[in-house]
């Protein structure tokens, strides 16, 4: 062998090989990038100048609608498409979510939803649900809303410890049976062993506020943003919040995971928390071509970080809590999984209002 290849040519090969290998590798990388760039360019070309539909499952004027309309111009900026917001209210939001799920999967129809309600509906298997949360084409999460428990101004219960050790039943107000204010109250009552009487049936949170002002109701669960004005005016104060870690605006208030008295309680409350993590995400129907979904995710990322968008959101006092599309996919799966059967039954009973 050594006779066939001379020493000189061997050196040439050994010196040349890395260069050659380098050349091949660089070429491959450039080539691959250009293929991906091509499909991204395809996606961009696809969206340019087209009309996109953005489904909002609630009537105009509400929080979801406001968020969507704040975001729309920035999505337009980064997709090159024209975004038309369509309100499709009904069945507490389920109508719009169904419609989003069954829309044509060409990537031109996307929408926002109250994913927490979608999760609870799917877990319980409510008649009329036509979607599977794990199959949506997740684009990203706009916001979550930290959940807080507030007490009325004159309440003798000033901290969550006092609540947990109270000998008198505390009246907690809730709106609809099976709704989020109700489920929060019921689950925390079970997990933290609270002596609490849940009075549901109020038409809306303002009515509960009135009840608290009259002293009929001692406290209520609600989203941080909806409780804010009452808290700032001093009429109510927060004693508990959800979350794996404390929300930056209320660093002195414990989370319910912190005060959970047992591992089982911790698991129950983790499940409840996971359900709320999904928040208000944007998604498309299942089956959107991969490049287009990627393109939409990137556009969403850029829109959510655009200083103009953040400025207008701040002015409208809408808090944002961004999460990427990939992370939403994982979160959606996680929110539906309740491994322990008895915990699952507990949640099903709470959502159905049977507790």
């Amino acid at each position: 062998m050594k006779n066939l290849v001379s020493r000189k040519s061997l050196r040439r090969i050994t010196h040349g090989l890395p260069v050659l290998l380098l050349a091949i590798t660089v070429g491959a990388v450039l080539g691959a990038n250009s293929v991906e760039a091509q499909s991204q360019k395809d996606a961009a070309a696809f969206y340019k100048g087209k009309n996109m539909t953005f489904i909002v499952p609630y009537a105009p004027g509400g929080g979801y609608d406001t968020n969507s309309r704040l975001l729309a111009p920035y999505l337009e900026k980064y997709t090159g498409a024209r975004i038309i917001v369509r309100n499709r209210p009904g069945a507490g939001g389920m109508l719009g979510v169904n419609e989003l799920y069954t829309a044509p999967a060409n990537g031109l129809t996307i929408g926002i939803q109250n994913a927490v309600a979608s999760v609870t509906n799917q877990i319980v298997g409510i008649k009329g649900v036509r979607y599977d949360l794990t199959k949506f084409g997740w684009i990203g999460r706009m916001t979550t809303d930290p959940r807080v428990l507030t007490m009325r101004k004159g309440s003798p219960i000033k901290t969550v410890e006092q609540l947990m050790s109270s000998k008198e039943p505390v009246k907690i107000g809730a709106t609809g049976l099976g709704g989020s204010t109700y489920v929060d109250a019921v689950i925390t009552k079970q997990a933290l062993n609270l002596l609490v009487e849940i009075i549901h049936g109020y038409d809306s949170s303002p009515e509960i506020d009135l009840g608290m002002l009259r002293g009929e109701i001692d406290g209520t669960w609600g989203s941080y943003s909806s409780r804010l004005s009452m808290v700032e005016s001093g009429e109510q104060f927060i004693i508990l919040q959800n979350g794996k870690k404390r929300f930056s605006e209320i660093p002195d208030i414990p989370t319910y995971l912190e005060v959970a008295p047992s591992p089982k309680a911790k698991r129950i409350l983790s499940t409840l928390n996971a359900m709320h993590e999904v928040g208000r995400p944007v998604a498309g129907p299942p089956g959107i071509p991969k490049e287009r979904l990627e393109f939409l995710r990137k556009a969403f990322d850029k829109a959510m970080q655009d200083p103009g968008f953040l400025e207008s959101a701040k002015k409208a006092k809408r808090d944002m809590d961004y999460l990427s599309g990939e992370e939403m996919e994982a979160l959606a799966k996680e929110s539906l999984e309740i491994p322990e059967e008895d915990i699952k039954q507990l949640f099903i009973k709470a959502i159905k209002g049977e507790i």
Binding site: P89, G176, L177, D203, E207, G211, S229, G353
Partner: protein
Amino acid sequence: MGMFDGLLQGFVTAVSWHLLPYLLVGAAIGLVIGIIPGLSGHFAMAMMIPFVFRMDAAVGVTFILAAHAAVAQGGGVTAILFATPGTGQNAATLLDGPAMTEKGEAGRAVGAAMTACFLGAFFGVFVLTVLLPILRRVVLMFGPPEFFMLAVLALTFIAVLGTGGNINKGLIAGALGLLFSFVGVGNVTGERRFTFGLLQLWDGLAMVPVLLGIFAVSEMLDLWIEGGSLARKAGARHSGSMQRQIFRGVMDTLRRWWLVIRCSAIGTTMGLIPGLGSAPAAFVAYAHAKQTSRNPEKFGTGTIEGVISPESANDAVEGGALASTLAFGIPGSSSMAILITALIILGVEPGPKLMAQNLDLVFLMIWTVVIGNFFGTLMGMVVANPLARVTFLRGSLLVPVLLTIILTGSFVVHSVWFDMIVALVFGLLGYAMKKMDYSRPAFIIGFVLGLMVERNLYLSVKLYGSTFFLQPLALGLLMLTIAVLLYNVRKLFKGRKAEYLAAADAKEKASVQTDLSFCLLLLVLLAVFFVAALGYKPVARRAPLIAMIPLAVMLLGQGAVLARKLKQTQTQNGQVSLWPTIETKKLGKGIRLLIWMILLMLMIYLAGHAGGTALFLILFLVFASHERWVLSISLSVGVTVSLYLLFEVILKITLYPGVIYEYLTALVWS
């Protein structure tokens, strides 16, 4: 700041050069929104929010509140002239307003209504101001027990509304309304009631489509079948003397100041109930006026009091709603919720802080409501003249155009296509009720209050136990309710009945057979609901059953009375057929219009609002109204373009795009 100083300062600020233009523009916008059926004060405010971002507090508040204040004025005009409630607030004006138009007294009605509305708003705001120091305490006196009692009190007025001497029919209508209010998923029970598998009914029947259907669509049906124009019994044209009529109407209202005060008081009180809305207050005020009038049987035929009473109440409600909004930052109504949002955007925090730190803003708001309303009144009177001329146009032109506007209005409330079906179905019901003398206002009162009664009863018992009504204010309201009931019962026995019956026979009524068939139809409907209710949880079926059982009893009673009457005529005139006697010509016209309306909705479903409306109008005008092609095409294009401009372009409400459009876009871009 002293009260008087504050008021003075507020007034001066409101009419300053800085703010006056915004007041005017806001009022103008509000007036227009009021005129458009389906759009309401809530909508007016929601629409203003994007503009508010760039304004400072005083300007923004003035702009929004002025718009809101003028909305009821606009609604009053369309209610009177076109029998179409521009907003829910003006529903009660439909009882006597259109009747006055029929008599050619449209101008007088408009003048009276607008003046009453303005005075009512003024009263509401005046009470608000007077109560300012103790506002918190007053609002806090009302809780679930008091809301329940107020709702029950309002319900008893249903008894008064039975037209003619027929209290039974009034009660049936009210109970029917109650029953329909339970459709949907209630907060209290979480049970899906009477949705019959339709997802669209989960949130219940939306009030505006039901209202538009039962009053406006039915009126269109009537107009089409009877022929003629809206100003049917007008005689000579009074176009020039419209101004004189309006002035006369204004004087009429001013002369009845005591009635105005009473009705405004009713409005303001009911405005304190959160979430009630102004429609029930207007109906209750109407019922009260009828009850205390010397000629109650004239109500419904076009009396001026029948217009003044509801209009005094409907804007006074806002004074009450504004009270709890300002005092606590708790919205008294949906439009108030938007006001709170706007205030927050403007950097003002509603609630005790507002009262403490920005009292000047509060006074400004008070004056804006008054002055905005005033400008709305003036502008409305100017607008009424040209609008009134339209009422003299022939029905064959007006019916299709108004139908498209009404159905579009039903759609636009929640952007739900299904709401148009709701309007249509209730249009049929409303027509039947009109022809057979079942009180539609009684129906509406039941419909609006049903859920409220159930919810507050549940909460009252949960919070205070079964003796909740022994609380002082609730007890007082209970006494009042019993007093009103006893008063009515006594009146009945005192033989006023003869007067009622005489007046009732004078109107054209449907025959006994038709009446009986309608009765049976309602019983069948009731049976269906009953069977459905049996499958619900006990908690959930309690309230509907409480409505259904008396309803069944009354219907059976009604049926028995009618059957006996039929037998009487049989023994007199020999054998009479049992079939409802409806003139076949009229029936034919009615059914054809029904088919046309279904066609309109299908066309909108397929071709979208613009396409469907244009197509429908052209076809209808040519083939059903027998108008000339040129006129038909130009009119339909004009109406379609106006609708499109107004909703899509100016108001930024996306109309229904249509299945074909969506299918095509999906096909082209997949």
